[in-house]
Amino acid sequence: MAQAVLSREGSSEARVDQRKLEAENRVVIAHVYTATAAIVVGALFGALQGLSRASAFIAPGWFDYYRILTMHGVLMALVFTTFFITGLSLFVTYRSIPRNDRSVALGWAGWWVMLVGVLMAAVEILAGNATVLYTFYAPLKASPYFYIGAALLIIGTWIVAYDIFANVVWFRKHNPGKAVPLPAFCAAATFLMWWIATLGVVGEMYFLVPWAFGWTGGINVVLSRLLFWYFGHPLVYFWIMGAYICWYNIVPKFYNGYVFSDGLTRLTFIMLLLLSTPVGIHHEFMEPGIAQNWKMLHTITTYGVAIPSFLTAFAIFATFELAARAQGKRGFWQTVRALPWNDPAFCGPAYGMLLFILGGFGGLVNASYSMDTVVHNTIWIVGHFHVTVGGPVALTFVGIAYWLIPRLTGRALWKPEWALWQERLWFAGMLIMSMAMHIAGLLGAPRRTAEVGYLGSAPNEWQGYMIAAAAGGLILFASIIVFATVAIGTLWANEKTEDMHAEFAAPRDGGERVPAMLNSLFRWGVVALAAAALAYAGPLLDILHNPGFLAPGMRTW
């Protein structure tokens, strides 16, 4: 490791004047409340889906189940998560790199482009011209405006990414010899990873858009799926990195904790930057047209990306224990009891961490070259991603929103006791729904179907689990309504009494210096791009060698 070291003291003492701060806050509010709108509407569609699969609700012909499913997937997986992470990342960047000469134009430009894209895609889905689910697998052929809308959502995030990078570059220029503040470093690493990953889906759009307009005759189905999953798995790491930004930099403040190790946190984000992209083929184990050796390669890399999560688990639990010890508490139960279980900003991330333990176990099965055969495209997979993106990620974002909104508005959180119950409901609902889905999946029940009866041919045991999953889904729906009520109520209910200053967790090893290797992201971005290229060179060359059939595409809904 390089011997050059950098001191960590940033200019965090400097305060930005109030008018400037409020201008920055308005951008973040726009991003975060767009995410809130997305999760509410997405939850409504999710509840209807659960009821449909439990045969308690039959979607009408003019708004069929698959349109509901497309709305739920797009709103939750692409819109809610993306807008929250852009808002959160702008917030931690702006607040950890205070400056009075900052323009928020890029933050707004990104938001507008993302919003226009989402509205375009939403109109096409609602009109029934894009019932292709959030994975939009060709040769299902949606309206070209759906693909353009999705591409605009991504391009908007690139503008936000540029804003974050530009602020980090500004800091480095004006603070020679100092390490980039950890929150901004984590945000920049997340968006660098995201930029590399989204090259895949934008590349896919390069083929899909002209094809959907009818300008090209056919689409290479295997190539389009490969490009989608090049993006599709790092997408989940984008969500996870958004949660990790909070776990390392914000959550410890709620229990008087510290960042366990500044250097290891940077290392964790660098590892996520390097390892998140070269893994996508583990979603395509059951596909023809991709050789087994590439599938095995991506199994190995997917297991590799578990390492930064091991580091994170250690670091977070260690900070719990150190904070408890500082209060004189010892042992497991005293440590648990020392945590602030009456603070909604803490409980969201904490319940999410508990769910992530289940998510991690399931993920090891899904990533396995051989075991995936048992669960591929069964509803086990849906159970899995609801205890990952719907657990640690969404619960962290919801909990952090309870801390963030007062920092943005200056108003104390309205009805914090409702917020606490909202998170408890979520935890219970998610546990019920996800467990039912995992078990039904092992019994062979498929995902992505309007119902699981098969005209009476299906095993009887599936239906009971679908009813349990729907019950869990309704609890989740109720929970999200409470979340939105508290989030929106806070905009008006209380007087402006809160300190809008945000403090981030300080490193425990305060005096230690950061190795220069762990302060520079550019070179790691180049390595990450090379790793992604290497992992996909083989299958891409295979496709170029033997392109096969070009599908004209069709509308089957």
């Binding site: 023809p288 599938k295 699981v452 041919s457 230690e512 059939f549």
Partner: protein
């Protein structure tokens, strides 16, 4: 950079677990030939009706006593709809699609694969127990997706 001793042990444990898992998967792949279906044969999906073996979908007995089953997965049905298989038969499935991507999943077995237009996918299974097996499409393929299923009668 200082790394806590417990953290070193934790990382060693994590890496050892990953190595163990990967060794298990690698052993299964090499020694037991447990590999995911990865058909590498191309086919023209517009000419399936003229292309052997898909011009005659269904079960075919080979000289060595094993069977091959040729399936066309299309919106929103499987051809053949029902497959009659003798108990104990080893069946190698060959599946393709003339239209969009479909799933091919026989419940209570390890036969789980994707049917992609332009490609033939393949997987084998030994049907040791008599009974009716449900074959379903488990990838969204359109408005009638939930009704896309077939049966395998093992007698």
């Amino acid at each position: 950079m200082h790394i806590n001793t417990y953290e070193r042990w934790w990382m060693a444990f994590g890496l050892a677990m990953l190595a163990l898992f990967l060794a298990t998967i690698g052993y299964a792949a090499i020694a037991d030939n447990i590999n995911p279906p990865s058909g590498r044969t191309a086919v023209d999906p517009t000419k399936l009706a003229q292309t052997p073996p898909f011009d005659h979908p269904g079960l075919h007995r080979l000289a060595d006593g094993t069977y091959e089953a040729y399936y066309i997965a299309q919106v929103f049905m499987f051809n053949p709809q029902t497959l009659n298989v003798p108990v104990g038969a080893k069946v190698t499935f060959y599946v393709t699609s003339p239209d969009v991507v479909h799933g091919f999943y026989i419940s209570k077995t390890d036969v789980n694969m994707m049917a992609v237009p332009g490609w033939v996918n393949t997987e084998s299974h030994v049907f040791r127990h008599a009974g009716t097996y449900l074959l379903i499409c488990h990838e969204y393929c359109g408005i009638g997706h939930q009704n896309m299923f077939g049966k395998i009668e093992v007698r």
